[in-house]
Amino acid sequence: MIQRNKEEISKLNLQIEDAIENYPNTQNILRAFQNVLLAKKRLVEGEISVDVDVSNVSTNRLEECVPVCRQIQLFSSDEPWEKVSFSLIPPIMTGFPALAKEMKKIEEAIKNEVFEFTEYFTSFPELKNDIVLKWASMTGIRPEVFQFFLINILKPVLGAKAKKAIPILGEFTWDKGFCPFCGGFPEIAVIKDKITERWLHCSCCGHQWRYNRIVCPYCGYEAKEEGSTYFFVEGKDQECAFVCDQCNRYLITLRRIRDTHELNPDIVSMKLCHLDALMQEKGFSPVAITEWNVFEPEVQ
């Protein structure tokens, strides 16, 4: 197990280095997230133990497109929020030196049991922004930094739960553009080689599911007659951004990929963030907002 984790971590590191070599423009982003991604991977792969009771999840309701998070409460009072926080604060401090002071304050506050994480996360997926604002003002931390921290501690726990729960649920039909486990939207899509199925990767829990090639995962619009538009950089048509003319959303997509298991969707999404910048410049919004795909418009 330890050996396998080491191999996984080393693979992840190689993918990051490879991405930086091919897209030097993403160096700032990938280096900032490098240690955070590695820490998250370690957490999901077994450093944290999570429980998820799916005995009350009905496959029939799944078939009716009601995701797991809407059928059961995903988080209980004994989730490892503190452990995840203490594992992620150091890499966030290293990757984001500008947040070091605020991360230190969060660390102190957690030690002093200032935050009631259970209160916040048990309301998932309806997370309450007023709690974030309250905690942020209590500790003197910018709300956006607190939000960033909370997203980062949520994802590995959600990922570990999805990894545990999905195999127990068995096979079911799912034809929606949001995740059957946590209800999150996809951060990237991958179109396989040969039989060119499109697989969506959840931006929250990392689960992947198959989805129709010409239907928008955000609004469900099927571009049958006029066709679905996509943009790509000349000479790199494997990497593209599909757009929906109805809802003006886009989804970064990798085409003709042989082995989807080797891909880390977060790294792929980060290395292709020039496509995010291009699409946002054209007036489109991402299907899923992640920690790295929000580009503010240039101030003229």
């Binding site: 030097p24 982003i29 998070c69 984001f96 500008a98 309806e126 939000q147 997203i151 929250c204 291009l278």
Partner: protein, 195 residues
């Protein structure tokens, strides 16, 4: 629990509420500059993905064509994984579909004629070719046309001409060819419809 689409849309918004990296101290200028440069150099291309049906045989497999939005030309054809008939797979003929488009540089674009006993091809125009084919067909048919068989029954057939369809002939063309062939009384009509 009542679940609405609007409710679902809130989930992702709540989890990933957009925090711009620049506000977290990360310099995004290199990525913005790279994107800007690509756009300025006109290297960002737009294409459309359109679903269609294979024209070859009666199975009716689904295809996805990628079309350049500026030139309107097809640059990729693949099986449609969401089509209930073929689920993304294609036969050898379907898989070679792209070679039927004008993107195939080996595709014949002019009439080539090899005279009897000649060892070389000559370029000819369509008017010459159509007139010559019509003449040869008419002469052969007139020479060998059989109106009655040995039992005195009316048959109106031409046994000295056969028609062989190519594997690149689609269903509609097949129908047209078979109608033309039978109108002329041909009885030897064949076609390679499936692989």
């Amino acid at each position: 629990m009542d679940v609405t689409r609007r409710g679902f849309l809130r989930i992702s918004g709540a989890v990933g509420s957009g925090v711009a990296l620049s506000s977290l101290g990360i310099n995004l200028k290199p990525t913005k500059a790279y994107a800007h440069e690509l756009d300025k150099m006109n290297r960002v291309k737009a294409a459309k993905q359109i679903t269609t049906i294979c024209c070859y045989c009666a199975v009716g497999c689904g295809l996805i064509c990628s079309v350049d939005k500026v030139t309107g030309k097809i640059f990729n054809i693949e099986g449609d994984p969401d089509h209930p008939i073929n689920e993304g797979s294609l036969c050898a003929k379907g898989a070679g579909f792209f070679d039927l488009t004008e993107a195939n540089k080996y595709r014949l674009q002019k009439v080539l004629y090899r005279a009897p006993m000649s060892d070389r091809w000559e370029e000819k125009d369509w008017n010459w070719a159509i007139a010559r084919i019509a003449r040869l067909i008419k002469d052969t048919r007139d020479k060998d046309f059989i109106t009655k068989n040995s039992k005195g029954q009316i048959v109106n057939r031409t046994e000295s001409i056969g028609h062989l369809g190519s594997s690149n002939v689609d269903s509609e063309e097949c129908w047209l060819m078979s109608v033309i062939s039978r109108t002329m009384g041909l009885v030897y009509v064949d076609h390679q419809a499936r692989v």
